[in-house]
Symmetry: D3
Subunit: 118 residues, 6 copies
């Protein structure tokens, strides 16, 4: 059976493709700004992805948290860095973020066991 | 006349003092967690303050933005780093954050002209 | 197999019925205000449903987005009108709304293929 | 000079009057639901006002916090009850609520010194 | 088949355990503050759980709503008390909370029929 | 003495100018998307400004509300249209939006008396 993270990526890719092929320029322009915001500049990519993770956690969006966790793992984030970023989000955002923290921990487990099924 | 940033610090210090002297332990414990979240660990202080800035901007809290901007300037943040962090927040949080971005720019101006009055 | 939109309507109808038969007048009064807010007045129904769609998207509630998309399609919204309304929401609400935009596109597909199963 | 709490009440009364005299029934009906929600029922008035205070704090609305604090003081809330309610809000809502907690403490001071000017 | 409420508790217990055994002290400290906030003090436990329910509903977190509903039922809340608390949340938080109210009603049904399967 | 609406416009123009002259392209690109979202297309300008007003009200941003109210008045909105849009926002967003509704009414008064001072 497919893992949650794989289903997330398939759904994301398929629907982003629909949005970007909708022949409506403003969506394309927004997506392009979104991609650019995380590219290396004065701040490196990992720092920006961790910022994206913090923002997604305080705003409580599971899909966004999953996306940024995945990017952070790809960029070889250390476990402690991940926890410290999630802790900033937990303190700023409060206990209402805890269900998202639980799901973030599930995603981290999956990302660290890429060969395993569900 | 006092600058906005000075009035902010005075009000913050005076009222935090009232809260912490209220003889109610849970407030003290929360404030202590809050302080600890930004201390150097696997991530350095500036990275954590920039994360606090991003979180405060997407959650749209002017006082929190002012606080983290001030800390970033104390930690010698580069202008480009500040802009890139604010841009992550702008893209994640949308145009509803723009009034806060305007006030953030005012605060940055004040912080860079510490000798000036209002 | 039933479509997502059908399951949404069934669940919504069944639970609204429970709430309204709970013998607790304030719920009934709120639901009545809610219904009235979208009825034709100085603004036509479609404009109000599009406003409901924008509000639901910036507040990031999938069920509310589904409901207003369905109403808009019933009221013969044009595809371009739908995209422009969703774009106002995307710009105001930022990239945190994108997962909801993806699910909105899925719902639009279902609504346009009423005969298809899942 | 008038106190903040008095200016709040004057502004609130004056503008509510404008809204309710705007000859637009839905506003009147919503305000009537709002008033009814805090009236004594299975839960007493103070419990409901404290709930309003918690909701207002996690949603970070200073005017709403001021209103419910004032009502709680009128209903002879004990200081410890007020702190425990504010602490539930602080833990649920996180450090982003702290600036509102500071202003809540200012309001409490004013409410306890009704004779004092500003 | 297991009930939703049972699956919720299992998932919550399993993932909280992972978070608390992650050897990262700040998470433990936050969870400890969170637990303490709902313990009996000047306000009794049920009042605090109802406050947690109101806060969770206006912030629109289904898991948090489920948790506090379960606690309220354990503490022998009366149906009318539950409705009045949910109504404060509905009025403060608006129609965007209605999908959560529908799911809250489902959870209440399950909690009242503890022997039933799904 | 200057009116609130004039001070708003001056501050907005001055700070937007600072942001756009900061030599940081992503801010310029976002502002350009923001402007484009409200231009006439399949939906006319007034409909889009009313959508911006609804989004700003449920997200509770006074500056954004002021901006869109001003645009609506420039586009000759009828009083009833304005009330119906604000009512959609009030019902969706709940009583937590009422302080913003009060300030919106103040702004409407100012916009209708352009010659008056404060």
């Amino acid at each position: 059976m497919k893992k949650r993270i794989d289903r997330f990526h398939e759904h994301r890719a398929r629907m982003n493709d629909k949005i970007l092929s909708a022949d409506f320029l403003p969506f394309k322009r927004f997506f392009s700004l979104d991609t650019a915001a995380y590219q290396e500049g004065a701040l490196d990519e990992l720092t920006k992805e961790l910022m994206g993770l913090v923002a997604s956690t305080v705003l409580r969006c599971d899909d966004c948290i999953t996306y940024h966790l995945d990017r952070c793992v790809q960029l070889n984030v250390k476990r402690e860095e991940l926890y410290e970023a999630l802790n900033v989000a937990l303190v700023v955002g409060g206990s209402i973020t805890i269900p998202h923290l639980r799901r973030a921990f599930e995603t981290i487990e999956e990302l660290e066991n890429p060969g395993g099924g569900e």
